[in-house]
Symmetry: C2
Subunit: 202 residues, 2 copies
């Protein structure tokens, strides 16, 4: 026993510390917070964690997360969205980010990662062939390749471009440039170069 | 349904976001992390949360957290510790901090907070009377009043001093001064004043 910490307390601290971005100090702070507050709070979190897996599936069409039993997902079957425009993203969190803009009314395709030779992630690990099949089957006019503006994201977009060569679909990338609220003085060379290149008429 | 997020995902995001220091962005990052990793990880966290309450109690003597069924707690019954010296702290986390120094071999008393008129926390909300009874009953020679060096912590220590007036027990406070690794130039006036006042012979 470490400094008289009861095992259940230690166990929760360890489980919290396994989460990304949560160090041992935050883990113990969260644990002692839950010991202080109403028992409801830790039980609700416990139940929510249990339900996370039992209550969700991956959509068989776009591979975004969907409620259990809802396949294809609500976004894939939403009649208010066009099927001609599909936004291709790395992760389900990217879908959230794009939905928050309220500017996109097409459908999605989640690759579940990006190509990364360093981490051993190849094309067969991503939902790429499923995307190719969708392009052929669903009459998609444009794919917005919204993978991240990183080495891996760019490599994935270039791979998709080659893989879809000869198919009658327009491929686009999200614009690159200065972020809103950014400071020119502190902008990195790559971003500034691309902001110059993509400059628009005033 | 918010942007096609399945209810179980939303529920977990909300439960995480209720924790202190975890905002909506971190909550969704943690949730999507758990969706990606092995199901074991969320189930282990779920179980640990459930066990937190069923597996722990507050020690009836020192009010630190103890394993269920272990009362008084392991620290209170450890024969290698002296009962003459008791360290009085605000929270169970403070016990951890002091134990980490490896320098203290007495017992503890956890008040579960500090006096705060602003937050409506009065003496009756803290384990103060229980401490007074311990001083009378256990032959305690010295109480280290290790409440925080804050307004509330100081007020609590002063209240305890008045409350214990006339009892044959030595009361001490932790030393105030420059923290290790601190920078004199950036030290606040109060800390520097107390460092000067408490200066020691070289």
């Amino acid at each position: 026993m470490n400094a008289g910490i009861p095992r259940p307390v230690e166990r929760l601290m360890e489980a919290f510390a396994r989460l990304p971005g949560i160090g041992p100090k935050t883990a113990s702070r969260l644990t002692y917070h839950l010991l202080r507050t109403q028992a409801d709070e830790s039980l609700e979190l416990s139940e929510a964690l249990r339900e996370l897996r039992s209550g969700t599936i991956f959509c068989g069409r776009c591979f975004n997360i969907s409620a259990a039993g809802v396949d294809p997902c609500a976004l894939c079957t939403d009649a208010g969205r066009t099927s001609e425009l599909v936004c291709v993203v790395e992760d389900p969190l990217d879908v959230l980010a794009i939905e928050r803009t309220g500017q996109f009314h097409g459908r999605y395709h989640v690759l579940h990662g990006a190509l990364s030779p360093v981490e051993g992630i190849g094309p067969q690990d991503l939902r790429i062939e499923e995307l190719v099949k969708r392009v052929a089957a669903e009459g998609i006019q444009e794919l917005i390749l919204a993978t991240n503006p990183t080495l891996e994201g760019e490599a994935t977009a270039m791979f998709l471009k080659r893989r879809l060569l000869g198919m009658a679909v327009r491929l686009t990338r999200l614009a690159r440039g200065l972020p809103t609220g950014g400071d020119l003085e502190y902008t990195d060379i790559s971003t500034l170069s691309q902001a110059l290149e993509g400059r628009s008429e005033l």
